[in-house]
Amino acid sequence: MSATRTPLLTVDDLHVRFGTSRGLVYAVNGISFDIAPGETLGIVGESGCGKSVTSLALLGILARNGRVTAGTAMFGGRDLLKLKDDELRSIRGREIAMIFQDPMTSLNPVLTVGKQLREPLEAHFGMDKGQADRRALELLEQVGIPGAKQRLRDYPHQFSGGMRQRVMIAIALACEPKLLIADEPTTALDVTIQAQILELLRTLVADRDTALMLITHDLGVVAGMCERVNVMYAGMFMETGTATALFAQPRHPYTLGLLQSVPRLDSGRRQKLMPIPGSPRNMLSDPSECPFAPRCRYEVEQSRQQVPPLEEIEAGHQVRCFNPVPADEWQRQRLGGAA
């Protein structure tokens, strides 16, 4: 675990709100986490839980109606949330890079791939075109694009989805950032392409000792890629811990619910799916009770009175719950056949 290395990024009590015509949206409601150099952290949650907003807030690229209302994000001795835009610009791409879900809209369709690769190199390292070109070629080859030399002159629409994602990864890693944030990087890709891209990410990140913050809704992806996992719901972490601990012994009813409701290839076929009842929480109010309570089978009276604090339930494993699930509950259900 990250015990021996000082964290690269430490986020403390982050709150983000959006002003919309329907009122304030409380997108992120107090999350804290850290990432050590070279570590892979997964933030898993469904749509609307605030996971993407978190990364946008860190890099200062929230939509105009979004505001960080509290919290700090210490990176390299500075609080990212307090930096001005030109200070942040020197960090974006250079020290913290980001890749997004849809490579067609995150790559500029009117610029060649070579130009988009050269941009960060010229901006951050002051390279001239020749140097930048050479480096760009190297990068394309490292992400596994054949015929890279000709490809530098091509436009994004001439690449398939999987290849565009490779280009995005190349651009992100161009300046050897310390932290790579990947927001649903494979959600839009086919399964076999997804496997390629995840393998690529795994290798590149390991080779360069880059920290990776992987944001996704896919539990399988997280299980295969991440050392530590934070489960997010309604803008808060419900459970955090190592991937091994979380998947084997989930303690939060939401985590358990997710695992129970996802069909698995390696389970018995007729194992009943146990869906989580209800719909995701309406984010138009600041939570004053456990946000998962309305959908929770394990709720107790206290769940409706206050928001449970995130507390350590065993070493390195934290849960936000007044009535956590017994440690062996999930294994019992799995091995006992249908729940």
């Binding site: 919309t20 329907r22 949206v25 009842p277 209800g278 719909s279 309406n282 309305p294 959908r295």
Partner: protein, 302 residues
């Protein structure tokens, strides 16, 4: 708690709201649209109540006022001054609103009715029908609007109905293209496929599923077309292709021949010009407001 109970609790928080009322509420909050609405209402009211508002008849001459040459400017009896033949400019502008309103509405109506039918047919049926119709529209669009209108008036002869038809015809390919594009866009929607899977007859699909969803850009374009129609008609009138009777208080016709008086009686050119600008601005603001209000991306839940 069953799923159905949970769902119904959440749904009750909202009033049933169609997309039209949703758009209406958004329109009401748009300041530009409200200003535009104010301008256009003024324009329409002035046109409707012209006889009550205008102090003089629009063709009433008072040659004594221009005995000393052209032309007395704004005064107490004549708010906007008088023109070369001693007619009250204010009254003429007020009555002119009627012409502009009528002409604008008729020409847009002509353009819309033909354009919509052609566009819907081309978009819905596709294939060779689409190609033929669209090539015809392309030919019409290849000629600049005003020139095409002039050409049509040249064929039909000058006159107020003729310029209305001319401006209307110029609008046809614009609406046809627009609706065709919108129909093509809607045709691929899953709910259209669902309607086909149910066995809904084709004409019902077009009328009940596709058109209502395709109509928004047309509404916006229609409003903006009203604005350009007013300008086009004024332009044709200024060129002398409109109402042949120079006494007609149509804003464009009123501008004919005022160039030589620019030094001595600038109000003759400026005032009808401002009237045109204000009414066109009004329609443009409403059109922009409508475009925002009807934008599908802003509909419903975030």
């Amino acid at each position: 708690m069953s799923i159905a109970e949970l769902e119904s609790r959440e749904i009750q928080l909202e009033q049933p709201q169609g997309l039209w009322s949703d758009a209406w509420h958004r329109l009401r909050r748009n300041r530009g649209a409200l200003i535009g609405f104010g301008l256009v209402s003024t324009f329409v009211l002035v046109a409707l109540f012209a006889p009550l508002i205008a102090p003089y008849g629009p063709r009433e001459q008072n040659l004594s006022l221009v005995a000393d040459g052209c032309c007395p400017g704004p005064s107490a009896e004549h708010l906007f001054g008088v023109d070369q033949l001693g007619r009250d400019e204010f009254s003429r502008v007020v009555y002119g609103a009627r012409y502009s309103l009528l002409i604008g509405l008729v020409s847009v109506a002509v353009g819309l009715s033909f354009g919509l039918v052609l566009g819907a047919v081309a978009g819905f049926f596709g294939g060779i029908i689409d190609s033929v119709i669209m090539r015809m529209m392309d030919i019409m669009l290849a000629i600049p609007g005003l020139l095409l209108a002039i050409g049509i008036v040249a064929m039909l002869g000058p006159g107020i109905w003729q310029i209305m038809i001319a401006v209307g015809v110029v609008n046809i390919p614009i609406f046809a293209r627009l609706l065709r594009g919108a129909v093509l866009g809607q045709r691929e929607n899953d709910f259209v496929l669902a309607a086909r899977a149910i066995g809904v007859p084709r004409r019902t699909i077009l009328g009940s599923h596709i058109l209502p969803n395709a109509i928004s850009p047309v509404i916006v374009a229609g409003t903006l077309a009203l604005a350009t129609a007013i300008i086009d008609v004024a332009g044709l009138g200024f060129l002398g292709l409109g109402p042949q009777d120079p006494a007609t208080p149509e804003w464009g016709t009123m501008l004919t021949g005022t160039i030589r008086y620019l030094q001595t009686a600038p109000h003759l050119a400026i005032i009808p010009g401002i009237a045109i600008v204000i009414s066109v601005l009004g329609f443009n603001l409403i059109g922009d407001g409508l475009r925002e209000a009807l934008d599908p991306k802003l509909r419903g839940r975030a």
